[in-house]
């Protein structure tokens, strides 16, 4: 299990592939990989967004991510998991977060990956400050419930 917070742009496909290739003992054991990638949009709450800065709490953020992965591992039979989250200056189209979960069967992979993402959105200390096209900026007030349907 691994969590990583990075100020550098990252390629989620490369990260997942490299992690899986390095996890030698897992070969032949996993039947499912569920992989979620969250990417920055160029719109939010009706406004065009030019970019944003993601702030975090070094130390607590990593600990919170580790707890979230451990809680998922206690609930589902995970073979392995990887969470990568970007901080700092971010541009529309950039990947923000990767959650990857390896299990024997798909149901556990889907459910655990979903749970990790929902817990991350509500508990991991990150804060987005958007820079709007209309030149001003604003803090995103709170995350929405991931189980609500999009409008």
């Amino acid at each position: 299990m691994r969590v990583k917070v990075t100020a550098e742009p990252f390629d989620p496909w490369f990260e997942a592939r490299a992690y899986q290739d390095a996890a030698g003992p897992m070969a032949g054991k996993f039947g499912a990989l569920s992989l979620f990638v969250g990417t920055m949009r160029d719109f939010n709450a009706g406004d065009q967004v030019a970019g944003m800065v993601l702030e975090h709490y070094p130390g607590m953020t990593e600990r919170a991510l580790e707890n979230i992965v451990q809680e998922a591992a206690a609930r589902w039979p995970l073979l392995d998991a990887l969470v990568v989250h970007r901080v700092g200056e971010i541009r529309p189209g950039d990947p923000i977060v990767l959650a990857a979960v390896w299990t024997s069967h798909r149901g556990d992979a889907f459910d655990a990956c979903r749970q990790i993402m929902e817990a991350l959105k509500s508990k991991a200390p990150f804060w987005k400050k958007e820079r709007l096209q209309a030149t001003d900026e604003r803090w995103v007030a709170e995350n929405t419930d991931g189980y609500l349907k999009s409008e």
Partner: protein, 77 residues
């Protein structure tokens, strides 16, 4: 007794600083610590509290050497 107090994101901007060290005579609650550090401002609704990198609540006790953080709802992912 010295403790470190940190503020993040929009709360950091409202308080006007990111961190400070304060001296307290005896353990006190997070709520009392806020009143000591930011007497001019009531904590905005939904403000979260962490002590030593774990979530806590406003009635949790703060002791010598602790690091206490106040921050708004999280918006990562």
């Amino acid at each position: 007794m010295s403790i470190k107090v940190r503020y993040f994101a929009s709360l950091k901007e409202r308080v006007g600083r990111s961190e400070e060290n304060v001296t307290i005579a005896e353990p006190l609650t997070a709520k009392a610590l806020w009143r000591l550090c930011v007497p001019e401002l009531s904590p905005p609704e939904q403000t979260l509290v962490a002590i030593n990198l774990d979530y806590a609540d406003w009635n949790s006790l703060v002791r010598e050497g602790d690091e206490v953080a106040f921050f708004p709802p999280v918006t990562g992912g």
